[in-house]
């Protein structure tokens, strides 16, 4: 990665491009912008960026299509921008390779947090897998299947552990219901959201200080779950 990370923003709204360029440049990113999908694809091929911010509604080609075509040749982190009403689009974008999403209108802090998570994940997936994930007062040992909270061993069922391990190893990123269910229960169970609701409730009871105001496992309405690390 170059000392100054390169971000490509693909959005047809000039005011958004202007604001993004100003904010991201001030945060020491190198920023390039594209107003159309084809232009963005070409730019990404010529000057491979470290991260792409992609609006889902573009004038020429669908943002989903851009996402799929990028994924044919690159694993660069993609954050999609969408509006509140289109949860289905968000899920489709995530399932066709996007790493995360932001709902318009969004705050700068939110944007920067998403960029940080995406960058960290990109580093992690290229490097060796961490056998132990530590976050807040939790310590999750992936190799030994153990979870400790403030040094105390927490008893989890096999499925609970599998779920926690999958969420925690993608810490900070949103995971769709379908992705979690396919991974933990098997591809045939991808639409049994009820399993997920029940097991998330059980996990929260065991891990969270207040299960009604969870700190670790956060619900993303209509999309999935996100495991939050404290940093």
């Amino acid at each position: 990665m170059s000392p100054q990370p390169h971000i490509l923003v693909i959005d047809d709204e000039p005011q958004i491009l202007r604001a993004m360029r100003t904010i991201l440049t001030a945060k020491q990113f190198k920023v390039s912008t594209a107003a159309r999908g084809e232009e963005g694809l070409a730019l990404a091929a010529v000057q491979p960026p470290d991260l792409i911010i992609l609006d889902l509604s573009l004038p020429d080609i669908d943002g989903l299509e851009v996402c799929k075509r990028l994924r044919e040749w690159t694993q660069v982190p993609i954050i999609v921008l969408s509006v509140r009403e289109s949860e289905r689009d968000k899920v489709m974008a995530l399932d066709s390779g996007a790493d995360d999403y932001l709902t318009k209108p969004f705050g700068v802090e939110e944007l920067l947090a998403r960029i940080r998570v995406a960058q960290r994940h990109a580093v992690r997936s290229t490097g060796a897998k961490q056998p132990i994930i530590t976050t807040g007062d939790l310590e999750i040992d992936l190799a030994d299947h153990r979870v400790k909270q403030r040094g105390n061993l927490i008893k989890l069922t096999a499925t609970e552990f599998k779920l926690l391990a999958y969420l925690a190893s993608h810490a900070g990123r949103v995971l769709t219901y379908g992705a979690i269910l396919s991974h933990v229960w098997g591809p045939g169970e991808y639409d049994h959201v009820e399993y997920l609701r029940v097991y998330v409730r059980q996990l929260r009871k065991k891990l969270e200080a207040d299960p009604y105001q969870p700190r670790y496992i956060i619900n993303e309405p209509g999309v999935g779950y996100r495991f939050i690390t404290e940093d």
Binding site: P105, H145, K155, F161, Y177, R197, N219
Partner: protein, 503 residues
């Protein structure tokens, strides 16, 4: 054949009994006159014979009258004109008397008979007029196509003493297809009995609407009856056309109303959008101004104002989009099994900054079953209800969210606050678009929040209503706990002592 014979017998009194009766009357009259022949002046006999002739014509009609006249002529000739007991007449004078008598008798019976027949016709016309009057009176009160068709069928059934009546109107895109058959239940067997059928179209000026079909036992349809049935059909068409026009007018009025609503929405929305825009414009131009040097606290105030007003605008636009989707029927909840506490948690997180002036109490049992809903939309319901509470309830009061399993299939949710009561008459109206209970300037909003809640809850098969509590105000709603009659099934897993999936 046998049946036709029976039918003939059924009607024989009309065709045969009247002349027979007339003959009997004439026989009796002849007997009486013959008995009194010594007392009565022979000249009076001719006049007295006219009396029963007139009587027969009056009572039994023209044919019987003419028969009576001929019998009187013969009786007069046989019993009273010399030579008696023969039909011979000797005197030329008597021949003239007899011929004149026959002429007068036939003339009288014809006059009387015609009067009688036209009286009968007038009575029949009156009966028809009364039936028509009854039909049009009944039809005048009806606006529903099905009721109109039923009314026509019933009247035809009674008036023509039918065995079976079918009235059908067809769908031409302007009204629904309706078909009524009388009597209900088992139809009479139209094959074995001698039935005659009659079809009359229901014909409006532009098109054929449908048809009346009548079957009945003999006799054949007279042209008067056919005309009456035709008139019934005209009356029916008029009633159906009137109902169609009224329906069209209602539709037009609804459209007009919806147009008025849209205009009202536009003006309300423009006003609502301009308020936050004014704040944003003032704050941002202030910050850009070269002439003022802001201290960091003031700068922060202005920036916070911009942020808050942006959120406000976002909420407004979200509500407008929701409303338009509800209006166009494009709400399409994306349903899946959801936990109510998770939905609430996301909403409260989102509203955190606006909640700082009130206390929020969440009373949701830990073991509440899952609900099959669109979590984003139900989240929107909670956000609107909480925002509403924040708007009307005084600061530092409690906003309480409670959920309970009401019965095995229904979840009941209540969002209550310590705000002012709403007049009983307004409790239903607050769910209408643009309805706001107070006209206070302090309260802002498009008046769409609660109608959106209603749209979403109803799209989920639930119900929503408002109630005054002893110490505040509450909105309640229900959500189904089952989907197609089933509860969520989650595979059981026994708590193992160690967390080793391989073991």
């Amino acid at each position: 054949m046998r049946l036709q014979k029976k039918d003939f017998l059924l009607h024989w009194p009309d065709t045969l009994s009247h002349p027979l009766m007339a003959a009997l009357v004439m026989l009796a009259a002849t007997g009486i006159l013959y008995a009194l022949r010594q007392v009565i002046n022979p000249l009076s006999v001719e006049l007295l014979y006219l009396l029963p002739v007139g009587l027969c014509a009056t009572v039994w009609g023209l044919d019987s009258g003419v028969l009576a006249a001929i019998l009187a002529f013969l009786g007069l000739n046989y019993f009273f004109i010399e030579p008696r007991f023969t039909f011979f007449v000797h005197r030329g004078q008597d021949i003239i008397v007899l011929v004149v008598f026959l002429g007068v008798a036939i003339f009288i019976s014809q006059m009387v008979g015609r009067t009688r027949n036209s009286l009968a016709a007038a009575r029949a016309r009156e009966r028809d007029a009364i039936r028509l009057y009854k039909l049009s009176e009944e039809l005048a009160e009806l606006l529903d196509d099905r009721a109109i068709v039923l009314c026509i069928a019933q009247n035809v059934f009674e008036t023509f003493q039918a065995s079976r009546v079918e009235v059908a109107i067809s769908d031409k895109g302007r009204r629904d297809s309706i078909s009524v058959t009388l009597p209900d239940g088992q139809p009479p067997n139209l094959e074995v009995s001698p039935h005659t059928a009659m079809r009359i179209p229901l014909q409006s000026p532009e098109e054929s609407i449908g048809e009346i079909r009548v079957w009945r036992m003999l006799p054949e349809w007279s042209s008067a009856e056919e005309r009456l049935l035709q008139t019934f059909s005209y009356q029916g068409v008029i009633a159906l056309e009137r109902s169609r026009l009224i329906q069209a007018e209602t539709r037009a009025r609804v459209l007009e109303e919806s147009d008025r609503m849209k205009t009202s929405l536009l003006s309300s929305v423009s006003h609502e959008l301009r308020t936050p825009l004014a704040t944003i414009k003032a704050a941002s131009t202030g910050l850009l101004s070269q002439t003022v040097s802001w201290d960091s606290k003031a700068r922060n105030e202005l920036l916070l104002a911009i942020e808050e007003e942006t959120d406000h605008l976002n909420l407004l636009v979200g509500n407008l989009l929701d409303m338009s989707r509800i209006e166009s029927g494009a709400l399409n909840p994306d349903r899946r099994w959801n936990a109510l506490d998770e939905i609430l948690d996301s909403v409260l997180n989102r509203l955190r900054t606006t909640l700082r002036n009130h206390r929020i109490e969440v009373d949701v049992p830990e073991d509440l079953p899952l609900i099959y809903v669109d979590d984003v939309q139900i989240g929107q319901v909670f956000a609107n209800l909480i925002n509403n509470s924040l708007k009307y309830a005084p600061e530092d009061t409690v906003v309480r969210i409670m959920a309970r399993k009401h019965d095995p299939d229904t979840l009941m949710v209540q969002v209550s606050n310590q705000g002012p009561h709403v007049a009983e008459d307004d409790l239903e109206k607050i769910f209408e678009k643009f309805h706001r209970v107070t006209s206070s300037d302090r309260i802002t909003g498009t008046g769409l929040g609660l109608s959106i809640c209603k749209g979403i809850v109803e799209a989920h098969g639930g119900r929503i209503w408002a109630e005054n509590l002893p110490e505040g105000f509450a909105i309640d709603f229900t959500l189904p706990l089952t989907w197609n009659g089933t509860f969520p099934q989650v595979p059981e897993e026994y708590e193992s002592t160690a967390a080793h999936p391989g073991n």
